[in-house]
């Protein structure tokens, strides 16, 4: 594949924590690509390195993380070799993030409108910000008046919508959604996923979706990479992986999706 087809190419990325005998290879020689307008799902259990992989793309990893090799190609540049200032110019404007817990992802002392406005101030000069804020809230089906609400006055689902509005504020090319529905209850999860799917089509957004839930994968993703202990153990077209999983771990993960009426032999089983 050439760069022209892909918006993001991660090649042989390794991120380690700690030194010597205590080194933890959180991300170990991982490669994946996200195509233009496509959705790639990184799937794995907690601690499999999927979140660190996602944060590595714009070097948002904790200070203790060490980049041991590989490169992250985005827009023709290797993100890992950019300066802080250059990275700040890309964060939020070309690559946006949505995090797992909307309740704590907003600054509690500022209104939602203020926080969306800040993103606009930073990356989009010379627009009418008031109009743009109400346009963004419209986009995620929230009433304008919520712009003056504080985060604690809103529900998790509303906040995650605001988070999406904020992430889309500067029309990014790539959206990284780090378990965007994990902290929400099931009915709200559905709404948020539908919204994400709709918006990514509407603005031709490429999405890197981090999840542990194969239900989400089958709904949203074009491609899927399954991670375990920092390595990618299986990858491919979503349908192909779902229909015919090759790796035992993928089968276990798929069986671990809770269902109301589990098929024979399925259901919840703790992973080893």
């Amino acid at each position: 594949m050439t760069t022209a087809d892909n918006i993001l190419e991660v090649q042989n990325l390794s991120v380690h924590f700690g030194h010597g005998d205590e080194t933890v290879k959180a991300v170990d020689d991982v490669s994946f690509v996200v195509g233009h307008g496509e959705t790639l799902a990184l799937v794995g259990e907690s601690g499999s390195g999927k979140s660190i992989s996602a944060l590595s793309i714009t070097k948002l990893t904790p200070r203790a993380a060490r980049f041991e090799g590989g490169q992250v190609m985005f827009g023709g540049q290797n993100m890992l070799s950019l300066s802080d200032r250059e990275l700040r110019g890309i964060r939020g404007s070309q690559i946006s993030y949505i995090f797992q817990e909307p309740m704590v992802s907003f600054n509690p002392v500022y209104t939602i409108g203020w926080q969306i406005e800040e993103a606009l101030k930073l990356h989009r000069k010379g627009i009418d910000r008031k109009v743009e804020i109400s346009h963004l809230l419209d986009l995620v089906y929230l009433p304008d008046r919520l712009a003056t609400a504080y985060p604690h006055q809103m529900s998790g689902g509303q906040l995650q919508r605001c988070m999406i509005a904020m992430a889309l504020a500067c029309s990014p090319e790539l959206l990284v959604a780090d378990e965007p529905t994990t902290a929400l209850d099931v009915t709200v999860q559905r709404e948020i996923l539908n919204l994400l799917a709709e918006l990514s089509k509407k603005v031709n957004l490429s999405v890197l979706m981090i999840t542990h839930n194969f239900g989400i994968v089958s709904d949203l993703a074009d491609h899927v990479c399954v991670m375990k202990k920092g390595k990618i153990v299986e990858e491919g077209q979503t349908r192909q992986v779902l229909d015919d999983p090759q790796h035992d771990y993928t089968k276990q993960l798929m069986a671990a999706v809770p269902r109301l009426h589990p098929a024979k032999g399925g259901g919840v089983s703790p992973m080893k």
């Binding site: 939020g92 946006s96 995090f99 600054n107 002392v109 800040e118 003056t148």
Partner: protein, 293 residues
């Protein structure tokens, strides 16, 4: 809720503060003290330039140790000077000591605490080393040394107290910032492409403002207390009445039944500290939107 409402953090806080009656009473008291402090300062400067003796320095030995009366509402001291005039004059010294030392200590402490907590690593090591070094020196000796360098008087007190007491707030801020740094809203701000300075001072700082406000209100009595013993040691205020000097002289005569000087000065200290503390508490609550629904 309407769109026209003031959107700024301080604007909202003021709206909430206005509804708190105790806070407004304290604010009036603080305003009153401020007016007295300005009045005292102007009076001192005026007599300084004219080279005349201000009313609060007028001695009248025949009138020494008179109990409160219609002529001297708060009585007179050992040299026959009017206690009320001296008390009012003392507000200006207490204010200057309390506020100027805070203006020196709090920005230093907040700045170093914030960058140490946020950046960690070598920056943190340096700041911890710096404040440990300051903390290891006996404060009084340090203040005396500074007073030696800049000379007797208020400047020595400002610098001495200001440069020694930033350590406490620095430690507190460092801890608070470390706590907040790990929260998702900071990661979200980083993911938005904000600079470190903006994240520290626009996002984290308002969330830890209560620490600064509480520190400020608690520093006031401490600074006045330090001024008391510095004046007592003779390196403090020289030619103006200060509450420290007044308490110090009144203390000796309390057993002779001369209660008024001590009573009114301590009452003034009490009211000032109470007003600042209650106002500080109310302000801390008003600044937290979560406590106001």
């Amino acid at each position: 809720m309407n769109m026209e409402r003031n959107q700024s953090l301080w604007g909202d806080a003021w709206q909430r503060l206005k509804k708190n009656r105790i806070a407004m009473a304290c604010l009036s008291l603080v305003v009153l003290f401020t007016v007295l402090a300005v009045y005292g300062e102007v009076l001192y400067r005026y007599h300084d330039i004219k080279d005349t003796t201000p009313a609060y320095q007028n001695t009248d030995l025949d009138m020494a140790f008179k109990a409160p009366s219609s002529k001297h509402w708060m009585g007179t001291d050992g040299l026959g000077r009017d206690v009320m005039a001296r008390l009012v004059q003392g507000v200006s010294i207490a204010y200057k000591v309390g506020i100027i030392t805070s203006l020196i200590a709090i920005p230093i402490g907040v700045f170093f605490g914030c960058i140490a907590g946020y950046f960690g690593g070598k920056v943190d090591d340096f700041v911890v080393w710096l404040y440990s070094t300051f903390a290891s020196m006996p404060g009084l000796l340090f203040i005396l040394a500074i007073a030696m360098v800049v000379g007797k008087g208020l400047l020595g007190i400002y610098l001495g107290i200001g440069l020694t007491t930033w350590v406490g707030i620095c430690r507190l801020m460092r801890g608070e910032v470390i706590k907040h740094k790990g929260q998702t809203y900071v990661l979200a701000a980083q993911a938005l492409g904000l600079s470190s300075g903006r994240i520290i001072f626009r996002h984290i700082l308002p969330n830890v403002m209560h620490v600064i406000i509480v520190t400020f209100t608690l520093r006031f009595p401490a600074a006045v207390g330090t001024e008391v013993f510095l004046s007592f040691l003779g390196i403090g205020v020289q030619d103006q009445p200060s509450w420290g000097l007044m308490i110090n002289s009144a203390r000796m005569r309390l057993w002779q039944g001369i209660w008024w000087e001590m009573t009114f000065v301590t009452l003034a200290v009490f009211l000032l500290v109470l007003a600042f503390n209650l106002l500080g508490d109310a302000l801390r609550d008003a600044l937290d939107p979560r406590l106001n629904d």
